[in-house]
C-alpha cells in the first residue's frame, strides 16, 4: 500500500537460481536512495561481495527506476541498469547502463518501483511481469534470436502494448561489449552480458495500474505546464540553429533545428517542422529535427518519417528514418530509429576511409548493433579497430586465414556491407577479431600490444580504465575533466554539456552561471578556457550529483537540469528547482532543491565508496581519478584560443578543489564527517574497517 505518490511502494526481487519472486517494501529499504542508480548502488553495497566478477552468479543486476517514471513530468521513463561491469579489466567495478523508451513507465503501471535480479537460471528464461503476476517463463526457444524477433515473440504472448527489455546474441554469448535493448532503439550499454550470464533473455512488462500523484491535480497541471514553458530542445539547447523571427540568438550547433521549410520529408504527406516559437506548446515535438542533425540536411530531411523517443517526453530525440535501399541491398528493414551514437558509432568503423556510404552504414549498423545487442563502448571499440587495422596490428595478431577471411576490400571502399560480417563476428565471438573487439577493451588493447602512441591523442578516444572520454576537456575544460574521472565506465553525464552548449552567447551564459553557481567564473566560452577556480569545481560536483539524481528519479539527464530556458522575458533563465518541485508534488514529500541535491550527493558518494572498496586503494586520486597524457600534451599552449590542453598543475588544482567541494581528502577519499552528513555512517564504518576511510 503506497504511502506516497510517485513510488508504487513495491520493489520486485527475482532469484533466478531458486525461481523465487518476492516483493520488498520500497520505502523501508530504498526511500532514502529514491530508486534508479541510488537503489542499484545500495543493493550492490549491501549484497554483492567485493571482488565479485561481472559474470559470477553472485553478481546482481538491478533495473532501477524512480518515483517520477510513469508520471507526466516531462522527459522521464529512464531505466538505470546497475551491476558489476563486464567492460573494465578486472571486471569487478560497479557501473550503470541506461535506457529510455517506455519500459520504466510500464513497470510503474504494473505496480513495481524497480527489479533486483540475482542468481542464475538453470536454463534460458525470460521474466514475465503482468501487474502483480510475475513468473519466469522458459526462453529456450527464444534463445539464439536477435532482439527484434525476441521482442515480437514476447509481445505476441503478452499483448502488443507490453514493453520488453531484451538481449541479443551478443549478450547470450557473454560478450562484454553488449547491450540490453528496449523499444527497438533504446539501448543500455554494457549490461547485456550480465543478463546472458544469468540465462535471462528478456523482461516483458505489462501494467494496467496507475502511478499516483499526491498533489492536487490542478497544482500538478500548473507545474507541468510551467515546466513546458521552460523546456528547450534536445540537450536543453535553448536557441534555434538558424535565425528565426522570434529568436534573439541562434547557434548552428544547436539541436533546435526546426524551421519553416524544414520537413519530416518521409512522412505521408511531409510534415513541416515550422517556426516553433517557444511560447507555442503545440510545436515542442517539432523543435528537434534530429534526422538532419545526424544525417545532414539532404538525406536527413528526405528520409525522416517523424521523431520518436521516451514516454512522457515532448522533445523526441530519436530520428525515425525510412530508406528503402537498406531492405533492397542488405535485407534489413528500411525503417530504422535511433539518435546520436546509435548512428555515428557504426560509421566510425570507417573513420579512416573516405567515400564511405555514411548514411547506409549508419542505418545498417544500427540494425546490426540493436538486433545483435552489440555495444561500442561509446565508440572506443571502433577507434581501436581502425587503429589496429591501419597500423599492422591486426595483421600481426590475427591468424593468417582469419585475417584473409575478413572482407577488407569492402572496408576500404567504405561499403556498408562490411558491417554485416564485422558485427556478426563480435556478436558470436568469432576468431581473435570478434572476441577481441567484444571483450573488455583494455584487456584487448593489452593483448594486442596497442602501443603507447595510441594513448597520446584524443582522436583515439581513450580516457582511463578501458573506457573513452565522454564530454571531457573538449567540451568544458576542467569541468569535463573532473566529471570524466568519477566513473568506472565512460562518464554518462550531460548536466554540464547541456548548459555549455545551450547556444546562448557568452555574456548571457555568464549571468546564468553566476545565478546558478555563485560567479560568472563558473563558465568559460568554448575554446577560451581559463585556469581552474573553485566555481568550476562546484559545477563539476553539481553535474554529477544531478546526474545521479536524474538516474534515480527517472528523469532524462540529456534534458535536465534547466539552467537556461528559451524565454527572453526571463533573461533566458530556466529553473534548476524543477526536479525538486516534481518530486515534492508527485510524492507528497515537500523537498527543497538543496534537500534533493543532498540525496543526490548521498547517491554519488555511495558510488564512490563502493568503488574505493572494489579498488582497495587509498590513492583514488592517482589510481582511479587518472588523466590521460594527451590532456597535458595535445594541442597549442594552454589557455590560448582554441586550445583544450591543460597544464598538470591546473589539473592537480582541479582535483584539490573538487575534493574540497565534495568533503573528500586530498587522496579523493570521503571523510567520516562527509559520509555521516550524508547519512552514510555504515559506509564510513565499513571503509574504516578496511583502512580506506578518508
Amino acid at each position: 500500500m503506497a504511502k506516497f505518490g510517485g513510488w508504487t511502494g513495491k520493489t520486485l526481487r527475482v532469484n533466478l537460481t531458486t525461481g523465487k519472486v518476492t516483493a520488498e517494501d520500497t520505502f523501508e529499504k530504498y526511500k532514502d536512495y529514491l530508486g534508479g542508480t541510488g537503489l542499484g548502488y545500495k543493493v550492490i553495497w549491501d549484497e554483492v561481495p567485493v571482488g565479485t566478477r561481472a559474470f559470477d552468479e553472485a553478481n546482481k543486476i538491478i533495473f532501477g527506476i524512480g518515483p517520477l517514471a510513469g508520471t507526466g513530468a516531462p522527459c522521464n521513463s529512464r531505466t538505470a541498469i546497475t551491476t558489476i561491469w563486464p567492460v573494465t579489466d578486472p571486471d569487478i567495478y560497479v557501473a550503470t547502463g541506461h535506457m529510455g523508451g517506455h519500459f520504466a513507465a510500464e513497470l510503474k503501471f504494473a505496480g513495481w518501483d524497480s527489479i533486483i535480479i540475482e542468481g542464475k537460471a538453470p536454463h534460458p528464461v525470460w521474466l514475465c511481469i503482468m501487474d502483480d503476476k510475475v513468473e519466469l517463463r522458459d526462453a529456450r526457444r527464444l534463445w539464439g534470436n536477435g532482439v527484434y524477433r525476441a521482442t515480437a515473440e514476447i509481445n505476441a504472448e503478452m499483448g502488443p502494448e507490453a514493453q520488453v527489455a531484451a538481449i541479443g546474441q551478443a549478450g547470450e554469448n557473454l560478450v562484454p561489449n553488449s547491450t540490453v535493448i528496449t523499444g527497438y532503439s533504446h539501448s543500455a550499454g554494457g549490461a547485456g552480458g550480465v543478463m546472458g550470464s544469468k540465462n535471462l533473455k528478456a523482461i516483458g512488462v505489462l501494467g494496467t495500474g496507475s502511478v499516483k500523484i499526491a498533489a492536487d491535480k490542478s497544482e500538478w497541471k500548473k507545474l507541468i505546464q510551467y515546466s513546458l514553458t521552460l523546456v528547450g530542445s534536445n540537450n536543453q539547447h535553448v536557441v534555434p540553429s538558424t535565425p528565426q523571427p522570434w529568436a534573439e540568438y541562434y547557434d548552428p550547433a544547436s539541436r533546435w533545428t526546426a524551421s519553416a521549410g524544414v520537413f519530416w520529408g518521409a512522412a505521408n504527406p511531409p510534415v513541416e517542422t515550422g517556426t516553433c516559437d517557444p511560447h507555442d506548446m503545440h510545436s515542442i515535438g517539432f523543435r528537434c529535427q534530429k534526422g538532419i542533425k545526424d544525417f545532414g540536411l539532404d538525406f536527413g530531411e528526405k528520409h525522416t518519417v517523424r521523431m520518436g523517443g521516451c514516454h512522457a517526453c515532448p522533445i523526441r530525440c530519436h530520428a525515425q528514418m525510412d530508406y528503402p535501399p537498406i531492405e533492397e541491398k542488405y535485407g534489413y528493414s528500411r525503417y530504422a530509429a535511433n539518435t546520436c551514437m546509435g548512428w555515428f558509432s557504426p560509421r566510425m568503423a570507417y573513420a579512416s576511409i573516405s567515400g564511405t556510404n555514411a548514411s547506409e552504414a549508419m542505418m545498417l549498423g544500427k540494425h546490426l548493433c540493436d538486433d545483435y545487442g552489440v555495444w561500442d563502448n561509446y565508440a572506443l571499440l571502433h577507434a581501436v579497430f581502425v587503429y589496429a587495422a591501419n597500423n599492422g596490428i591486426l595483421e600481426r595478431v590475427l591468424p593468417a586465414d582469419e585475417y584473409k577471411s575478413i572482407p577488407w576490400d569492402q572496408w576500404k571502399k567504405g561499403d556498408p556491407a562490411f558491417l554485416l560480417d564485422f558485427y556478426r563476428r563480435i556478436a558470436y565471438r568469432e576468431g581473435e577479431l570478434g572476441r577481441g573487439l567484444g571483450d573488455s577493451t583494455l584487456k584487448t588493447m593489452r593483448r594486442w600490444g596497442i602501443p603507447e602512441d595510441y594513448y597520446k591523442t584524443s582522436k583515439n578516444k581513450y580516457w582511463k580504465m578501458g573506457h573513452p572520454l565522454h564530454h571531457s576537456t573538449e567540451d568544458s575544460a576542467q569541468i569535463g575533466l573532473l566529471i570524466n574521472l568519477q566513473y568506472n565506465r565512460d562518464a554518462q553525464t550531460h548536466s554540464h554539456t547541456n548548459f555549455q552548449n545551450s547556444g546562448l552567447p557568452g555574456q548571457v551564459m555568464k549571468q546564468l552561471a553566476a545565478k546558478t553557481w555563485g560567479s560568472p567564473d563558473a563558465y568559460d566560452e568554448k575554446g577560451r578556457w581559463t585556469p581552474m577556480n573553485k566555481y568550476k569545481a562546484k559545477v563539476a560536483k553539481w553535474s554529477v550529483i544531478r546526474k545521479e539524481l536524474h538516474d534515480s528519479l527517472s528523469l532524462c539527464n540529456w534534458m535536465y537540469p534547466f539552467v537556461a530556458s528559451p524565454l527572453k522575458e526571463r533573461n533566458y533563465e530556466g529553473d534548476t528547482a524543477l526536479e525538486a518541485k516534481y518530486f515534492s508534488l508527485a510524492t507528497g514529500i515537500p523537498t527543497s532543491e538543496a534537500e534533493l541535491d543532498l540525496i543526490g550527493e548521498r547517491i554519488f558518494n555511495l558510488h564512490r565508496v563502493i568503488t574505493i572498496m572494489q579498488m582497495n586503494t587509498r590513492d583514488m586520486r592517482n589510481e582511479h581519478d587518472s588523466v590521460p597524457d594527451w590532456v597535458y600534451e595535445e594541442g597549442p599552449e594552454p589557455f590560448t584560443p582554441g586550445s583544450n590542453r591543460l597544464p598538470r598543475e591546473d589539473v592537480e588544482l582541479a582535483k584539490d578543489l573538487f575534493y574540497e567541494e565534495c568533503g573528500w581528502t586530498k587522496e579523493g577519499l570521503p571523510t567520516r564527517q562527509t559520509l555521516e552528513r550524508l547519512g552514510l555512517k555504515d559506509a564510513a564504518d565499513r571503509l574504516a574497517k578496511a583502512g580506506l576511510l578518508g
Binding site: G72, P160, T208, K221, S283, P314
Partner: protein, 240 residues
C-alpha cells in the same frame, strides 16, 4: 456519403443487430414516420427524446476529437493529461484516448512481417484511438442496463454517470472500437467526456496532432477494432 436520415429504420436495425440481437418486429414498432420526424427535425427539446415505443434517442454531440497520425510522435502525453489532470493519477489503461495499444505494432497487433506493418517496430505510424461520440444509437449507452451513460456537459459528450454505474462491464464489450475504459481502482466504467469542451489531450499534444472539431459522424467510415473483443477476458471472472 450515405444520408442516414433518408432510411433511418433500416440502418438502425442493421447497425443494432451487430451488437445486440433485437427483434426486428419490436424495433420497427417505432414508426418510420416518427423516426424521420425526430431525426429530420434536428431540434430536440431535451437531450433525450422518449418516443412512443420507449426508445431513448440521444442528441448528437457538439464536438469530437480527430487526429492526424502523421504528426503523432507517441509521447503519450495525451494519455498522461487525460488521467493525471482528470483523475489525479497516471494510467494508460484508464486513459480515454488510447495510444499504447497501437504504439508498438499498429492496430493489428503483432504479426509476422511486423517490420513492414505500423507502429514503432514497423513503419512508425502511430494511430491514436479516440471516442467518436457516436450518434444514436450509441452502443455503450444502449448496452448499459442502468442507463448510466448519458449526454452531459456543454458539448453533449456521452458520459458515464458514476452514481448509476454498477461496474458490470457490459459497456466494455459493446463499443465496436473498444473505447470504453474501466477504472478497477474505483470499480466504475469511464469514457471520453471531451473534458467539458476543453479536451486535456488536445491541450497537451506537443505536435498539434490532436484536434477538437465540430462533431461529424465518424462511425460509418471507421473500421471496427476486432482485437479489442478478443483481448477481453472471456472467463466468467472477467466481469463477475
Amino acid at each position: 456519403m450515405m444520408d442516414e436520415r433518408k432510411n433511418p429504420a433500416a440502418n438502425i436495425a442493421e447497425f443494432f443487430g451487430v451488437n445486440r440481437p433485437t427483434s426486428r418486429r419490436g424495433f420497427l414498432k417505432l414508426s418510420a414516420a416518427t423516426a424521420v420526424a425526430i431525426y429530420g427535425a434536428n431540434i430536440l427539446a431535451s437531450d433525450q427524446v422518449k418516443a412512443a415505443s420507449g426508445i431513448y434517442i440521444l442528441e448528437d454531440a457538439k464536438g469530437v476529437l480527430v487526429s492526424d497520425p502523421t504528426r503523432c510522435v507517441a509521447c503519450r502525453r495525451c494519455e498522461l493529461a487525460c488521467t493525471e489532470f482528470n483523475d489525479g493519477k497516471s494510467s494508460p489503461t484508464v486513459s480515454r484516448i488510447k495510444v499504447a495499444r497501437n504504439m508498438n505494432y499498429g492496430p493489428q497487433g503483432v504479426q509476422f512481417g511486423f517490420q513492414r506493418a505500423q507502429g514503432k517496430y514497423g513503419n512508425f505510424l502511430v494511430i491514436q484511438d479516440m471516442c467518436k461520440q457516436c450518434p444514436h444509437p450509441v452502443p455503450c449507452a444502449t448496452a448499459c442496463p442502468n442507463d448510466a451513460i448519458e449526454v452531459a456537459g456543454p458539448v453533449k459528450a456521452r458520459v458515464v454517470n458514476t452514481a448509476k454505474c454498477v461496474g458490470c462491464k457490459v459497456c466494455q464489450r459493446a463499443c465496436p472500437w473498444d473505447m470504453m475504459s474501466f477504472d478497477e481502482e474505483i470499480g466504475k466504467a469511464t469514457k471520453c467526456t471531451l473534458c467539458d469542451g476543453k479536451p486535456q489531450c488536445v491541450e497537451a499534444c506537443p505536435t498539434a496532432s490532436l484536434r477538437f472539431v465540430e462533431w461529424r459522424d465518424l462511425t460509418k467510415r471507421s473500421p471496427v477494432r476486432q482485437a479489442g473483443m478478443l483481448s477481453v477476458d472471456d472467463s466468467c471472472s472477467g466481469c463477475h
